[in-house]
Amino acid sequence: MAGFDKVVSSYEEAMAGLTDNMTVIAGGFGLCGIPENLINEIKRKGTKGLTLVSNNCGVDDFGLGILLPARQIKKIIASYVGENAEFERQMMAGELEVELTPQGTLAEKMRAGGAGIPAFYTATGVGTPVAEGKDEREFNGRDYILEESIVGDFAIVKAWKADRYGNLVFRKTARNFNPMAATAGKITVVEVEEIVEPGELDPDQIHTAGIYVDRLILGSFEKRIEQRTVRPSTTQGEK
């Protein structure tokens, strides 16, 4: 690596420095746009006691779910979980701490964390279990709760394309939490489907600037589909 060149050549190098009890922020929504090979590398390393921040926790044999059998996750901060049996078992047995966080609050916690904003007020969750223990304040006649932002020791991100400087372009709804995650890691690691030379991406079309990215690796992806819904190709189908 030299200058702004963020490219690393192995997954081992990509996740170097990840140690037990760290906080890892992961991009992705369901199984869409998840950094699947970076997750595989965490499994291979066997890092334990992790606090994971991610909208979901994958399924039994794919995505973050693969970190469950060896009990690598101590705590997960997510908006929607339980798409896998082992997760349910560990949660019910009290082996896994789960902090359910509204999806918009979770996205904003990452965004604020990456932007150096320690906390923010939101109306989301007022009067619900989410508000318990949080500062409440009225603005213009409406109640809001104070939510603290999140910064990760690592952020793991999946983008579509990048240049060697780490400028990123995402594709369709695989973007989701990835841009915020990218800003909120002390070390941000990104895996992509294609790496081009600096200057090849149109600066106007870059979603995430390279300043947020520390390491970049070229991967190949399974891109598993969670809910395969189709309409017949012979008819107009449903609207």
Partner: protein, 218 residues
């Protein structure tokens, strides 16, 4: 007769207006997309980062990078846009979505809604529901009026943990279309063939009935 899921969706669709940006929750609310009136333009927002959600893809069109908030494969409608999750919830929390339709376990006379958690059972999480109910002004809750055993879900006080406080003004059940104001339920319409008495019997919270309550028209 109690409304079918499709009839509930059809009645909700009558509340759509040309040019509305709409967020539809999982379940019955999703079906509303099937009944958008002809010659009306409505754009569907999916909170994972898509405005202008289209129909399901054909086998050939399937793209793992293009899903909706229910994690189903979808397509994009003409004029769609893609954005990240923070931007998506800026639309929702900033009050930019014209209509939100979502399901619930319980609502009460104070506009409280419980929809995400039954203590003691598996807790999967609120997803975007808390943001949606807190951020939207125009919300329609779709739900069954009572349990199979006749226990009302339209209550004086929600018994389950809340998704949002004081944020629901309209509820469409399989029996009735109800407005919530001034701490009371108000009966606007009945499902065809369902009597006012039947609705009162299955509504725990105070229900105001004014004059002849019209039947829903489809």
């Amino acid at each position: 007769m109690a409304l079918s899921r499709e009839q509930i969706a059809k009645r909700v669709a009558q509340e759509l207006q040309d040019g509305f940006y709409v967020n539809l929750g999982i379940g019955i609310p999703t079906l509303v997309a099937n009944y958008v009136p002809e010659n009306m333009e409505v754009m569907l927002q999916s909170e994972n980062g898509l405005l202008g959600m289209g129909q399901f893809p054909t086998e050939e069109e399937i793209d793992a990078d293009l899903i909706n908030a229910g994690k189903q494969t979808v397509t994009m409608a003409t004029g769609a846009s893609i954005f990240d999750s923070a931007e998506s919830f800026a639309m929702i929390r900033g009050g930019h979505v014209d209509l939100t339709v979502l399901g619930a376990f319980e609502v009460d006379v104070n506009g409280n809604i419980a929809s995400y958690m039954i203590p003691g059972k598996l807790i999967k999480g609120m997803g975007g529901a808390m943001d949606l109910v807190a951020g939207a002004d125009n919300i329609i809750v779709t739900m069954t009026h009572a349990s199979k055993h006749g226990v009302s879900k339209l209550l004086n006080n929600c018994t389950l943990p809340l998704t949002g406080k004081g944020c629901i003004k309209k509820v469409l059940t399989d029996l009735a279309f109800i407005e919530i104001k001034n701490g009371k339920f108000h009966l606007l319409e009945r499902a065809p063939g369902v009597t006012v008495e039947e609705i009162i019997k299955l509504t725990e919270g105070e229900l105001i009935v004014t004059g002849d309550v019209p039947e829903m028209v489809f």
